[in-house]
């Protein structure tokens, strides 16, 4: 696949006001130069190895396989990367690019806080001042990540406009960047936004897919399907990247089914629920009303709670290369508990949507066939949500005691 596509079928593009055209042109050029520069790629690989902890393991989940009673289950442990999610791959790449472009400040948006934490950590290492925009609602539900971002020295700015979630944080970062681009890089965290972001984020995340292809070959795994959760789509596109141009394995993207199929109850944009639109600089499918006003969304996982989907995924979905399905809030909670109990792994609530799908389809396949799920993140950040959902009485009692101390 080409490194820079701009459009994927009819989706993608660079629908921004003129003032952001020049900075995006510059970014595209700098990215393509860096990607072709062996010195840049060597330093990127070293940083991913020594700082991010790559390669991440591919674990054979034997207990889960036995209990589910069908396909062999494998788990790509992206959550073992430093800062706890795949987000670090893209953060390292873009921050190195920003330094190369001579930028002296970095801004980012974050939903679950994993992208914010990754960006803040990389900025700490590179000594670049960092500001992270985060919806007020997300700050509340992902409080541990706010705490960690601040420890890394980042300034976390609460966004109160709109639904005060991820999309509003993106809006606020775009507004900052419209004035600050001469000195500032906008380190966008998912495979969305105006070009070159969807292409660039895929390239930086494609390390997941390259490792996976190698690991599957080394272990001799006969892989029937890959399963990833889809917020904006960065872990999915990176995980799938090595397989997009062949017909197999089956690729499955899992969106947030939330608590129902009505408007505002979920964040599932595929399978006819989203409409074609142009928002935040790119054309894709969005949850919007008949006028094009964005609808509110809901997911138990802040990282999937977003009304748009990356343009390349939307295109691959329409083409049929990627199949899309949903998992509900409660299925995601069940999946967290199942894999904690069987495999000693706590999935992030985002990634647990993919795990839920694997639990659902495992029996459709024989043992010789394998399903690989991307554990895009680990669930440490979700302690407060999980505890309130799974052990409310003891947890609130504990919080009361702590607060009183």
């Amino acid at each position: 696949m080409k490194r820079y596509n701009d459009f994927f079928g009819s989706f993608g593009g660079r629908y921004v006001a003129e003032m952001l055209r020049a900075p995006l042109d510059d970014l595209q050029e700098a990215f393509l130069q860096a990607a072709a520069d062996p010195a840049f790629t060597r330093e990127l690989e070293e940083t991913l190895r020594d700082f991010a902890g790559r390669p991440t393991p591919l674990l054979k989940a034997e207990n889960a396989t036995r209990e589910l009673g069908g396909a062999s289950i494998y788990i790509k442990l992206e959550g073992l990367a430093n800062t706890g999610a795949h987000k670090i791959n893209n953060a390292v790449g873009q921050a190195m690019l920003a330094r190369r472009m001579g930028k002296t400040r970095i801004i980012a948006e974050t939903g679950a806080g994993q992208h914010g934490v990754a960006t803040a950590a990389v900025c700490a290492r590179l000594g670049i001042p960092c500001r992270v925009y985060m919806g007020e609602v997300d700050m509340r539900r992902q409080r541990p990540n706010v705490f960690w971002m601040e420890r890394y020295g980042a300034e976390v700015v609460s966004v109160t406009t709109g639904s005060a979630t991820l999309k509003d944080a993106v809006n606020e970062a775009l507004r900052d960047w419209a004035a600050s681009f001469p000195t500032t890089h906008y380190l966008l965290g998912s495979a969305l936004g105006p070009s070159p972001y969807p292409d660039m984020v895929r390239e930086f995340q494609s390390v997941i897919g390259r490792e996976l292809a190698l690991q599957l070959r080394e272990k001799g795994v006969d892989c029937a399907a890959l399963v990833a959760c889809v917020g904006g789509g960065s872990n999915a596109i990176g995980f799938f990247s090595a397989f997009l141009e062949s017909d197999s394995p089956v690729l499955i993207g899992v969106e947030a089914g939330g608590r129902g199929s009505g408007p505002g109850q979920h964040a599932a944009r595929m399978n006819g629920r989203g409409r074609a639109g142009i928002v935040q600089g790119y054309k894709s499918l969005f949850l919007a009303d008949s006028d094009g006003q964005l609808l509110s969304t809901h997911s138990i996982s802040a990282g999937l709670d977003y009304p748009g989907i990356g343009p390349q995924l939307a295109h691959l979905g329409e083409e049929g290369r990627i199949k899309f399905t949903t998992a509900s809030d409660s299925e995601a909670l069940d999946a967290v508990q199942f894999f904690a109990r069987t495999e000693g792994l706590v999935f992030a609530l985002e990634s647990a949507h993919a795990a839920a799908e694997v639990m659902r389809i495992a029996r459709d396949y024989p043992r010789e066939k394998s399903l690989v799920v991307n554990m895009s993140g680990r669930g440490d950040k979700d302690l407060f949500i999980l505890a309130r959902a799974l052990d409310p009485d003891r947890w609130t009692a504990f919080l009361r005691e702590e607060a009183a101390r």
Binding site: G13, A17, E18, N171, V279, G292
Partner: protein, 256 residues
């Protein structure tokens, strides 16, 4: 005393509500504005600062729909003779369909449309379709534009050009310094023969700013300053009327 400066007065359709926004338009017209820029509120206005953001969410709360926006424009046109431009974001235009949006715009008497996130080359047929329908599609130019890009937009030879005097979002005060004026002269150089009517603004709220910009443009755009007056409530029609009078300098002329 020189002739009053031309003002393009911006307002948000259905802010604070459907009926009151007509009063705002009346006030702007009574104040002597030369153009009205009517913004159709979008849920996610990324180019706007806090004042216009708040106005847009309030207008949506009040029940704004795109159909209601065109009705609002038509109602304004019934008592306002100055040209009216509809400003909005790509998604409202794209969702309705380019042809239909522009046909509706023409039917309600708009002179043209301004859609900053549909720039030439990523415009979904905006410029071509508008030309076909006899509407003015207005490119929005910014000081960060490279020469090549500026001349590319120049080749469209549009009747109007909208120039932001600085980068960033709407709202905060713009110091009218050499960089903004320098950009206006770059635009003038690009616009061979100076045929285009330049609408210049962004962060203009004082008579001094208008005086500094006015000689270099066809009309000065005033946006957030007026929206803030509407936000303050009370007799908004008189408030915006007086501000347009003051900014255009009509008051000085009359009083002299």
């Amino acid at each position: 005393m020189s002739a009053p400066s031309r003002i393009m007065a911006h307002m948000v359709a259905w802010y604070p509500d459907g009926v009151s926004s007509l009063e705002v338009a009346r006030g702007l017209a009574d104040g002597g504005c030369a153009y009205i820029e009517l913004q159709f509120p979008f849920s996610d206005p990324t180019a706007d600062g806090p004042d216009i953001q708040r106005a847009c969410s309030a207008a949506l709360e009040a029940g704004f729909t795109v159909d209601a926006g065109f009705e609002c424009a038509e109602a304004i046109r019934r008592f306002v003779t100055v040209p009216l431009f509809i400003m909005s974001y790509a998604n409202l235009v794209f969702t309705r369909g380019m042809e239909r949006f522009l046909t509706d715009a023409r039917a309600c008497g708009a002179r043209g449309v301004i859609v900053p996130d549909l720039p030439p080359d990523y415009d979904e047929g905006l410029f071509r379709t508008a030309a076909k329908l006899g509407l003015a599609a207005v490119p929005v130019l910014s000081p960060s534009m490279r020469e090549g890009r500026l001349s590319r937009v120049g080749t469209l030879e549009t009747e109007y050009l909208y120039v932001t005097l600085r980068t960033g979002t709407t709202g905060s005060f713009t110091e009218i310094d050499s960089s903004g004026l320098e950009f206006l002269s770059r635009v003038a150089r690009m616009d061979h023969g100076g045929k285009a009517k330049v609408l210049g603004g962004f962060g203009v709220s004082t008579r001094e700013q208008v005086q500094a910009v006015s000689p270099h443009v066809h009309a000065v755009v005033v946006g957030s300053a007026l929206v803030r007056l509407v936000a303050a409530g009370g007799d908004v029609a008189s408030a915006v009327r007086e501000m347009v009078r003051k900014l255009s300098g009509a008051q000085e002329t009359v009083g002299a």
